[in-house]
Symmetry: C2
Subunit: 342 residues, 2 copies
């Protein structure tokens, strides 16, 4: 029985349709920002105001440029594929390009796309759909090293922190792979597993598949999902934590987040030292050596002065490197990680 | 959007096929033992050696007895429906009885059954299949009281302990409902949600649906799944814990279980006070008042003398009632629960 991960083949053409603004094209913008080497162009409908600054391409241009995969880099309202996009997407599928999307409507449920793809042999890849044959986790310790982003909540910068840390390790010549667990991350990495979409029994098994045995000096930098504190998604977070068997975690936080978002009831974010302590207690079940390598905080709501004060104070309280991944960078966390990982 | 739970209508006819021994008929035996008032008969193939002691029925007998649902109370090898069972099951479906099963092969993928059921209007109910439209958990505190079984591992007696505690509360005239989270539990309760089969994002949402708002003096006694200590299934267990918002937990254990079963690597069962402490830390996220109402231990491997010693020692160490649900009964845990639940 073959175990598979989602796998997208570069180079990419980013599809933008006719979304009204950059906010609706976050996935495409993320892929263009983090993986410029994989993006050879963009294709849009005539009235599309969004421009990622990539070369504009026709279907023929894309063929000439050797494009392998069209990334639907947009989230249209409601998550459906708008009817006016389908002819262009069908033309691209008919030209033999794989199409990858993370929409609510599956590509494979869209008849015109399936017909065109069947004729050309192109693949339609729904990155929200987990692959078949995922195993139940077996808990076997794996070779290689792993660091997992954990969060005080959803949407506090786990993906961004993972990508920034991966880039920092890569810059230093350290063997490292970014491991994507959500749809945008998968589009950026070109592979991964949508961990929140697997059947509950297989969460940790999927995490084990995602970061297999590796060289002893290789780091998997694993994108987190949800939060142990979030009463909607904590099961996903714990399954990912156990299956990842991380040697270290980075706690990701947004300085403005004082309570869990999107829920009813009283769910304040506790003190960060308590969050770290609870996380490590759970992490130690599958890796007794796991430690916290730092705290990565989105401080974009603060002035430079306020940010410096906040991060210095936090750092002295926790005794850990505390950074803003955008404003101050991940270098202190990389230093701490490499110093203390045995 | 209607939110549904699986729902089986009594009275039941227990289907046994031709399984070789009682071990393969555990589900049927469980339903007959815990819900004798719902079981009017059994039906078997000519050579079946297993007998649950229920009245033997033909299809006509079952019609006359007013049977509503046929419970496939067996687990054939490999989880497939044996070909020689299908004619009899199709006859039962054709006679208008709903058929409920928890096999790997879905009833609804078995053509002869679907044809017969479509003709008669009978339902084919796969209890491993979660209902559609499960919501993401919202974390809203609910009215009524809840107690959840948690375990040091899978298969340590969580279902049995929940059913025994429910029976004890019922005996005392306390309003209580057993809430089933696994397939055998669902067959026994006649309703429930297979919590380990839902998509990861919806684990806690399913748990919220399973135990809705209720009278202030009503107890939901919730069957547990997996264990926070089990590196394969802890995500399921935490999602269920958070979504259940329990006022109390009972820790279930098997005295012979010294390490997590079915995994590779070093996964010893910690001291029980540590397990209780970690469980309550996580439980407090959705119910700050949650406490441990006792420990329910399968001590069937011990002599009476050894059992008394073991339970007395444990009880004095933990300061909690420690029982064997079969040998000593759940009464001390019910006493403790009702005394300390506010």
């Amino acid at each position: 029985m073959q175990i598979t991960r989602i796998n997208l083949e570069p180079p990419y053409l980013i599809y933008l349709g006719d979304v009204p603004d950059l906010h609706h094209a976050k996935t495409g913008a993320g892929v263009a920002y983090w993986r410029p080497e994989n993006c050879v162009g963009q294709i849009r409908l005539p009235d599309c105001p969004v421009d990622l600054g990539l070369p504009e391409m026709s279907v023929q241009d894309a063929k000439d440029a050797g494009v392998k995969t069209v990334i639907v880099g947009v989230a249209p309202k409601g998550g459906q594929i708008p009817a006016n996009w389908i002819p262009q997407l069908a033309e691209l599928a008919g030209a033999g390009f794989d199409i990858a999307a993370g929409l609510h409507t599956k590509l494979s449920d869209t008849e015109d796309l399936v017909t065109s793809a069947n004729k050309s042999g192109a693949k339609l890849i729904d990155v929200r759909m987990p692959p078949p044959n995922l195993p139940v986790a077996n808990g076997r310790p794996r070779t290689g090293k792993r660091i997992l982003m954990v969060g005080t909540d959803c949407a506090v910068g786990k993906k961004y922190s993972a990508l920034a840390l991966h880039r920092e390790l890569d810059r230093r010549g350290i063997k490292a792979t970014f491991r994507a667990t959500g749809q945008t991350g998968i589009m950026i990495a070109g592979e991964g597993l949508p961990i929140d979409s697997v059947v509950a029994d297989f969460i940790s098994g999927a995490a084990e598949v995602l970061s297999p045995d590796n060289d002893n000096d290789h780091w998997d930098v694993i994108e987190g999902q949800g939060s142990l504190l979030n009463p909607s998604y904590a099961g996903v977070s714990l399954g990912l934590l156990h299956g990842s068997q991380p040697d270290a975690v980075v706690l990701c936080h947004d300085v403005q987040r004082v309570e869990t978002e999107g829920v009813s009831g009283d769910y304040p974010i506790p003190e960060l030292d308590e969050v770290i302590d609870d996380t490590l207690r759970m992490a130690h079940r599958t890796n007794a050596k796991c430690f916290c390598a730092g705290v990565s905080v989105n401080t974009s709501s603060l002035s430079d002065f306020e940010r410096d004060n906040y991060l210095s104070k936090l750092q002295s309280e926790l005794g850990l490197p505390c950074v803003d991944p955008l404003a101050t960078g991940m270098s202190p966390i990389a230093n701490f990680l490499l110093k203390y990982a045995s």
